[in-house]
């Protein structure tokens, strides 16, 4: 069970999100209303430091646990899909104050509402799967 390390990482990540209030509805509301620096600081800080790690991956200074070069998967391209999909996600995120990882974390705080969100998210992913070939990219 070497993958148990991912369980520990998930546990750690959940605590980071919880303790920095990055799962709170209020924190995302004020972010989208540009009334506070808090979430911009968290996400911006994470991006800047991650960019340094990405450089270290790229020039091979940091390799993965098996000694392989780390190459982040290229994101699928498509102007309409990323903008439109992003906007749909932003709508759900702005109303419920939940993005993907926090939904699982919020189960511990507000079990029933988080379950409703999760069922909705699975339904949404299912609808996407069914329509994926017909949607514009």
């Amino acid at each position: 069970m070497k993958n148990i390390r991912f369980l520990i990482l998930g546990f750690f990540f959940a605590i980071v999100l919880s303790k920095t209030q990055a799962i709170s509805w209020y924190r995302f509301y004020e972010m989208f209303k540009f009334q506070s620096f808090h979430m911009f600081g968290i996400i911006g800080g994470a991006v800047v430091i991650s960019a340094i790690f990405m450089q270290l991956f790229k020039n091979g200074k940091i390799k993965d646990i098996n000694g392989n070069k780390i190459i982040p998967k290229p994101k699928k391209k498509g102007f309409i899909s990323t903008i439109l999909g992003g906007t749909f996600f932003g709508l759900g995120w702005g109303i419920s104050g939940a993005c993907a990882a926090p939904i699982f974390v919020i189960l511990g705080f507000k079990l029933v509402p988080a379950l409703i969100l999760l069922v909705g998210a699975l339904l949404g992913a299912f609808i996407y799967g069914i329509l994926s070939k017909k949607l514009p990219n």
């Binding site: 546990f11 303790k19 509301y29 903008i83 996600f89 709508l91 109303i95 919020i106 705080f109 509402p113």
Partner: protein
């Protein structure tokens, strides 16, 4: 111990999230969260309805363990690590939400108006949560990522699609908070 129980400031959060990303890649996998919605669909048998979900979910068992870790971490945080959920919210934000009829604003992480029992047991409240969930699940998969996959992994590796996705996140989030929330509540 005091530090563990206090809220952590943004300049602690950013680096710790980056370290989570680093470890995820170090363990040999691509950092992200929203693909798990698809994996859970596959586990629930969605492959019988659509070929899109005909995948071997066991190839993503590591991600399911990550999800289990997220859930356990959520419970531990809620019950033991956050004795006080008060949020140091901008007074303007507090006033705005109070005017919209929100009560106990920023005294807890989640407002009763959306997450309280009275809210989610009403048809309107239930549908608000369910449809938000649908938008999150559909939107992240259509865009190919969420905050972790696009905003953090994608932007930090300088991928153009992620910039477009993040612009989309903000278009949606701004429409939701500036226009939809005042209509809903």
């Amino acid at each position: 111990m005091d530090f563990i129980l206090q809220p952590w400031p943004w300049y602690v959060g950013g680096p710790l999230i980056a370290i989570s990303l680093l470890l995820y890649f170090y363990f040999g996998k691509n950092f992200g969260a929203s693909t798990n919605f698809e994996t859970l669909c596959t586990m629930a048998g969605a492959g019988k309805v659509s070929d899109y979900f005909k995948k071997d979910w066991k190839e993503r068992d590591f991600a399911m363990l990550f999800v289990i870790g997220l859930i356990i971490g959520g419970f531990i945080s809620a019950y033991y690590l956050i004795p006080n959920q008060t949020i140091d919210l901008n007074p303007t934000t507090v006033q705005e939400l109070t005017d919209l009829g929100f009560t106990n604003v920023a005294n807890q992480y989640f407002p009763d108006k959306i997450f309280g029992e009275e809210a989610f047991s009403s048809l309107k409240g239930f549908l608000i949560l369910l449809l938000s969930g649908v938008l999150i699940g559909f939107g992240t998969r259509y865009a190919g990522g969420c905050t972790s996959g696009h905003a953090i992994t994608g932007l930090s590796s300088l991928q153009l699609p992620s910039l477009l996705a993040v612009i989309g996140f903000f278009i949606g989030g701004i429409i939701a908070t500036w226009f939809i929330i005042p209509i809903l509540f």
